[in-house]
Amino acid sequence: MTSSVLMMIAMTTTAINPIDEILLRDWKKHDIQPSGICSDDEFLRRVSLDLIGRIPTVDELHAFRNDRDRPAQISRLLESPEFSRFQAEIWTSILIGYAEEAEELASRRILSSWLASAIERRVPWDDVTRNLISAEGQSAFDGPVNFLLHNRDSPAVRISRVFLGVRLDCAQCHDHPHDRWTQSDFEHMARFFDVMEFDEQSESNIILRNAVPDTEEDNRPRFLTGARPRTSRWRDELALYTIRSRPFARAFANRVWYQLFGQGIVHPVDDFSQLNPPVNSELLEHLATTARDSEFDLRRFLSYICGSNAYQRTSANSPAGRSAIERFAVRKLRPLSSQQYVSSVGVATSRIFDEVERSELLAGLVSSDSDDPFAATWEYRESVQQLITQLAASTPIVAGSTPGLFNKILSRQPTARETQLCAGRSKSDIVFALLHSDEFRFSH
């Protein structure tokens, strides 16, 4: 594709956002054709799933079709209370994994509530991070305590992965095969947690406090940058070193980008290493700087990215090729997360699940064996068994004409061919086919 054609595409789209400028240059350099901008229906479904974790209701669909104001819709979703809850769920999984383990001391619910509240109150993300790393208090009351409680065996590993994008785990056993981190780095990072003390007050309430640290030189911790704590408040200092570091800004930017695109600029998102460079450094650095300049305001950052043309590319491919998807010229198709799936089924079938029902449905979907406990990859992992169970379950009753059902379940109108195929089929057949379709199951 010639550069002038690319320029034309750039001109005809609505916003010349720096993200798009950077990407256009990259696509030109690699001779990549971007896909077109997605339709309004596609946009609404996509942005609803990404920001509030569910497909749009039919009412929302009709309202948006009249309105067609994409930036306004983004704002509306960011202000919704569903936004805080959904983002809290995402981050809870990143912080303590997907599955509820047997004999789990940490409370997922309390951590998630605390996160939702922090997001609702617009607490900057570096502040949230600081609280998580330096938390003290009681697990039954203080959300962030549950983060370290769950990760008490290997806190340095999780914190490095989640907040710095570095996989120190390999360095646990031997010097990292392809990077500069050594066992010594790992040991020194781990020492920040030597002061961490847990005290079981009762079965469901564990106290986390700091002990007085060992001041002997040999036993003192050292941050990955080489910095050492200057006070006895080791974890507080670790928190500050972390949030002030450039890797923190990059890791945050990369993770949020990954949540919206299904593909990180560094991918997997917690594997920043010499052998795994960012696919577009300029983009990453720009986003990291933007995140820090906007004081890690989650909503502002999401709004910025969602407003780009890049976010609005379709996923329908001609043979798109790996490169186009990796460079964000064509949107990546990805399965709904179990939370998105359950919420969307609720919307599609007009059911409201109570907390117990929801937990049960989620438990059935999350396969803790095959899910990455670090939530760094977003793959399709349904097993044959899970599919059998879903297909064999009784089909819920959903009212509506054929177009009504398509709008309700797939958030779009049926094509002429589809209308023809559905003619003469029972409503139940149609609901079954739509609910179990790939189109429903994936975000596109």
């Binding site: 599919l387 061919r417 079954f432 379709s437 994936f442």
Partner: protein, 408 residues
């Protein structure tokens, strides 16, 4: 259409590699060529909770630690086992009792993990279950290759989700679900018709994988696998021979699945964690497994399947020689009872020994990696056979295990 696992996997994964190469997100295991093996299957009898060796295969009636259980002779001269297992006593010539397996994991979850994967659990480095390793070696199949009856099974880790366990809590309800799908065939075909447009527009490998699975399911619903789950097809006499308990039904189901071509079946019996009332608990549970296991052995033997089927009986760990205040025995991984046979392994013998009280192993001991090496050897997989994980790390199939000498 047969369930062409390898081809399907090859097709999907090559799509994945083109898509995600260098990304490391998709676990692709590349195995070296396994050497020839005639062994086709394995059945594991998993005694969940940790079965006491004193009341099963290493009784100590003359010791104060032996409890109140007597020992009886078996079909192997010199080998006595617990009086709670009279039927199995007649079949010990087909099996070997391993009395010197020792492990370090005394906590249930960690021990279960160790016994299923051969490695201690490290959260950042998941290991594939034995069943997954056995399953991944199969080229073409009509049926799921790793089936877990009565338990959830353990995951395939870096071998890939397609080698995960097919967990059946209850064969009857699993069969019913497949029956529902068989009746819904037309509806499922309508689903596929309607989806055709989408899967043409989006040639993403994940979509293809899902469509392929739906197709497999429609075939599974009307397949030997589904019929194997239908115990009504067995004569009443045969069903009665196995007994009436849930475990009985699982054993019969296992035999049928093995005959259908399933490579690895695990059958679970719960309840062995006898911290209280050890004697009555073990008596009851032995009573529950004795007959069905014996009939299973008989049928495998009669049909000739035993020659290429590994039979393995085990649990998380053994139990303490000293009886606690609640008349129970606590966890004792130092001595973990194992019974193994079939597949051309040497049988009718005891491997290793414990001392008079059962508090210690006398002489050499073996570890879980060695047990794994032994089973994998039957499948033609070397103990140090290298898998490649998703982060390009070569890793051996066992944790430096060597096959147990007396068994090969």
């Amino acid at each position: 259409m047969p369930f062409r696992r390898r081809q399907f996997i090859g097709g999907v994964l090559s799509g994945f590699s083109a898509f995600a190469a260098g990304v490391g997100a998709n676990p692709i295991a590349t195995a070296q060529q396994a050497r020839e093996s005639t062994v086709k299957r394995c059945v594991v009898l998993w005694m969940d909770g940790g079965p006491s060796q004193f009341e099963t295969f290493d009784p100590k009636p003359d010791s104060s630690t032996g409890g109140d259980v007597g020992a009886i002779q078996t079909s192997v001269p010199g080998l006595d086992i617990s009086e709670f297992l009279p039927e199995m006593a007649k079949r010990m010539d087909q099996l070997s009792v391993v009395r010197n397996l020792s492990s370090m994991e005394g906590e249930h979850n960690r021990a279960q993990y160790l016994m299923h994967t051969g490695y201690p659990r490290i959260d950042t480095f998941p290991r594939p279950a034995l069943g997954a390793i056995a399953a991944h070696d199969v080229s073409v199949s009509n049926v799921p290759q790793y089936v877990s009856l009565g338990s959830r099974g353990f995951g395939p880790a870096f071998l890939g989700p397609q080698y995960g366990p097919f967990s059946i809590r209850d064969p009857e309800s699993a069969r019913e679900m497949l029956e529902v799908l068989r009746r819904r065939r037309s509806r499922v075909e309508f689903l596929r018709d309607l989806s055709a447009n989408f899967s043409q527009r989006y040639t993403d490998p994940a979509v293809q994988q899902r469509q392929a699975m739906i197709q497999q399911i429609t075939h599974l619903a009307d397949s030997p696998f589904s019929r194997a789950l239908d115990l009504e097809r067995e004569s009443r006499r045969r069903r009665a021979a196995y007994g009436n308990s849930h475990f009985s039904r699982l054993c019969l189901t296992a035999r049928r699945l093995l005959e259908t071509g399933v490579r690895f079946v695990e059958i679970q019996q719960d309840g062995w964690d006898s911290h209280t009332n050890n004697l009555s608990v073990t008596r009851r549970l032995c009573g529950r497994i004795d007959q069905p296991w014996a009939v299973l052995m008989d049928e495998l033997s009669a049909s000739g399947l035993l020659d290429d089927t590994v039979v393995l009986w085990m649990g998380e760990f053994g139990r303490t020689p000293d009886i606690n205040g609640a008349a129970g025995r606590d966890h004792f991984p130092a001595v973990s009872p194992i019974v193994i046979g079939g597949a051309g392994l040497r049988s009718g013998q005891v491997i290793g020994a414990t001392n008079e009280s059962g508090r210690e192993i006398v002489g050499d001991s073996v570890g879980v990696p060695d047990l794994f090496a032994t089973v994998l050897d039957r499948f033609g997989i070397e103990a140090d056979h290298e898998f490649t994980t998703s982060f390009d790390s070569p890793t051996p199939a066992t944790d430096s295990g060597t096959p147990i000498r007396g068994l090969l």
